[in-house]
Symmetry: C2
DNA sequence: ATGAAAAACTGCAACGAGTGTAAAAAATAA
DNA sequence: TTATTTTTTACACTCGTTGCAGTTTTTCAT
C-alpha cells in the first residue's frame, strides 16, 4: 500500500481537484465554473488538470469506476441458488442504500444529481457512463449465468431493468414528485422490467 | 404550404448545412471536420450555422424531431383493441422498416450509426436525445392508456423496452455480430422487456 | 414601385475547453 | 551527490460557441 511519495502526492492532487471542482460546481454552477478556477483552487496549473481528468465533465463522475467495480463483484459472487431477478434487484437495493447512507455530510451524490438533472451536457455524459456500466454488467451477468443467458439476453435484461428505472424516475422528476414517491417508482419499475424474466424463467 | 420566399430559403440553407455536414463527416470524420468547413461548403458564414443548429453535434440528429413525431402519432392513434405491448412492438417494427427503407442511396442513418458508435461525444448526445424521446413516448403512452398505466408505469414500460433493445444491440455490436443477428436480438430483447407486461396484464 | 419594418446574415472580438511541446521542478534510484 | 524518470508548468495554438453591431434581404403597407 505504501506506494511511495510520488503516488501519495498524486492521490492528494486528485482529491484536491475533485473537492475544488465539486465545491465550485455547487457554489456557482457547472458552466459558470471555469477550469482555471478549479486548477487555481487545487493549486495546480490548468494544464495539469488534464493529466488527471480527460475533461471538465469527468471530474463529476470520479467514482463511477469504483461503483461499477462493486456491482460487478456482487454479480460474480452469485451463489448457486440465486435467480437472475434476485441478484439484479439486490444491486438496485445496494445503490439505494449507498445513496441514503451518503445523505449526511457534504453529499457529492446530491450535488451530482442536481447538476446532471439541470445541465444537458452532464446529462448526456451521465447517460454515456451509464451505458458503459450496463455493458459491463451485462457481461458479468452473462458470466454468472452462462447456463441460462446468452450475452445478448443478459444485455436485454440489464437494459430493461436500468432503462425502466431511469425513465420512470425521470418522469417522476419532471412531475416534481417527492423522494418517497420516486423510491416507490423505482420498486415498481423494477417489477415491471423483471416480471417478464420470472415469467420466461 | 407556400410559406413565402423567406421560409423556402431557410429550408434550403438548412438542407445545405445538413448535406454539407453529413458529407464531410462521412469523408473525414466528425472531429476532423471543422465548423468553418461545413459553413463554407454550405456557403454561409460560420456564425449563421448557429442560427440553424445549436451545436455541431446537433446537425447529425436533424431528423430526430420528425421521427419522434411519427412515433407519437402512432401512439395517439391507438385503437380500442390494442394492447400496450402490441402498440409498442409496432413502433419497433416501424423503426426497423424505416432503417431498411433507407438502406439504398446515400444513407444518412448509416453514417450516423457509424459515427455514434465511434465518437464518444456523439454517443452521449444520442443517448440524451433518446432519453428525451422516451420521456415523450412515456407521456403519450400514458395518454393512450389512461385507464391502465400511470405516467411512471408508462415510463418504466418505455424505458424497459428501449433500454433492453439498446443494451442488447450494443453488446452485439461489441461482438461484431452481423446485421441479421442484431435484428434477431432486437426481437428477443423486445420479448424479454415486454413479457412482464403481458404477465402483469 | 417605394420606403419602412422585420428578419436573416455577416464579420469581428472574445471566452473557455482542450492539446502539443519543450523547458523546469520534483521524486527516485544509484 | 548525480543521473534518470516522472510530473508539472508555461506558452502558443486550434476550435466551438456566444455577444454585438452593422449590413443585406425579405416582407408588407401604401
Amino acid at each position: 500500500m505504501a506506494e511511495g511519495l510520488r503516488e501519495r502526492k498524486k492521490q492528494r492532487t486528485r482529491q484536491a481537484l475533485i473537492q475544488a471542482a465539486m465545491r465550485l460546481f455547487e457554489e456557482k454552477g457547472f458552466e459558470e465554473t471555469t477550469l482555471a478556477e478549479i486548477a487555481a483552487e487545487a493549486d495546480v496549473s490548468t494544464r495539469t488538470f488534464f493529466s488527471y481528468f480527460a475533461s471538465k465533465e469527468d471530474v463529476l463522475f470520479y467514482d463511477a469506476g469504483a461503483r461499477l467495480e462493486g456491482a460487478l463483484a456482487r454479480l460474480s459472487a452469485r451463489r448457486p441458488g440465486d435467480t437472475v431477478a434476485d441478484l439484479l434487484l439486490q444491486l438496485i437495493d445496494d445503490s439505494i442504500g449507498q445513496a441514503i447512507a451518503g445523505a449526511g455530510t457534504f453529499d457529492a451524490a446530491a450535488v451530482r444529481a442536481r447538476l446532471v438533472l439541470t445541465v444537458p451536457s452532464l446529462q448526456a455524459r451521465a447517460l454515456h457512463v451509464l451505458l458503459d456500466s450496463q455493458l459491463m454488467l451485462a457481461k458479468a451477468l452473462h458470466e454468472a449465468f452462462r447456463d441460462r443467458l446468452t450475452l445478448s439476453e443478459a444485455g436485454a435484461t440489464v437494459g430493461a431493468l436500468i432503462g425502466a428505472i431511469m425513465v420512470a424516475v425521470m418522469t417522476d422528476v419532471d412531475e416534481n414528485r417527492s423522494v418517497e414517491e420516486i423510491m416507490a417508482t423505482v420498486r415498481r419499475a423494477g417489477e415491471i422490467a423483471l416480471a417478464g424474466l420470472r415469467a420466461l424463467g
